[in-house]
Subunit: 183 residues, 2 copies
């Protein structure tokens, strides 16, 4: 793994726990074994680093969703795959989806970072909409419903993280399913 990749990996872990504000060039440099001034050679500003991070995150999501779609056409399985990804972050030291934590810090983000954050939402909503279409929904109903599902799932993660309690995440999702919001 080259230095740039090492920086991105360390930054991602930190960002999902402490957010954009919690990213420290000096701290990351220490982890990677270089000086903080050298980090600016790879990422000139903190905005550049966060932008690369968010871009990678959206790219990864796009790839994973494509793989899941290739493996199953069962709407419930597809949605479960999505909720499992966010669940994993909680289990992993009460971390958050990068989208959620960066959305909360939106005011601090450079425009190019915001664009990538929004792209993760777009990619996710498109994936969830595909699952709904597979269950027989029309394209535009699926789109609106998928956006609501995305918001509800992100909210469940936020609330569960606020309590430091994965069980709350599971309980909230179960209620969504019982109410008919999730398949």
């Amino acid at each position: 793994m080259d230095t740039r990749e090492e920086i991105l990996a360390a930054a991602r872990t930190t960002a999902q726990a402490h957010g954009y504000g919690g990213l420290s060039f000096r701290e990351l440099a220490k982890q990677v074994g270089i000086k903080s001034a050298s980090l600016h050679y790879h990422f000139p500003t903190k905005g550049d680093l966060a932008g690369a991070l968010a871009q990678r995150y959206a790219d990864d999501a796009e790839r994973i969703f494509a793989e899941v779609l290739a493996a199953s056409k069962d709407p419930a399985v597809l949605v479960r795959a999505f909720t499992d990804v966010l669940r994993l972050a909680l289990v992993n030291d009460n971390r958050m989806c990068l989208y959620g934590i960066l959305s909360a810090e939106r005011a601090e983000l450079a425009p190019e970072v915001r664009i990538e954050v929004e792209r993760f939402a777009e990619v996710s909503v498109r994936f969830l909409a595909k699952a709904l279409v597979l269950s027989g929904a029309s394209e535009d109903v699926a789109r609106a419903r998928a956006l609501a599902m995305f918001a509800a799932i992100e909210g469940a993660q936020l609330v569960a993280r606020g309590r430091g309690d994965v069980a709350a995440y599971d309980a909230i999702l179960a209620t969504y399913r019982a109410a008919g919001l999730l398949p």
Copy 2:
């Protein structure tokens, strides 16, 4: 308004836009017209300031919910009053509910701040549960359902803020209602 109240007011506005990390003693002091060292006289640490802020926020919510409950027993009206409070933050310069933004920054918060943040959730869920009981739900069903409603509404705000678009908040809530999650 005394100095302490002026500090709290300025801090609340800033925190709902930029979060805990966005609070700057030097910036707040400038707004209030004192030196940053003086700010530490009123709030020894940033944790003390955030704690007072979160406590005030939960207290305010408790009072508002009591007033709303005294004015109406219509579940739809009560839930609407809750969603309107979060809507107001978005309209007000794309700000967030203090609960949502501080939950995202949970890892940065002192324990006494976390307790107050969790209290806001508790107060909110209790209020929403009362609305559900008024519509005929049993106590424990209402409790689980209220938690899911709270998470979904916070998520709607997070996603709408991520887009800088209040209309998304309204659209998502409309879908929640259509799905039967909200009354």
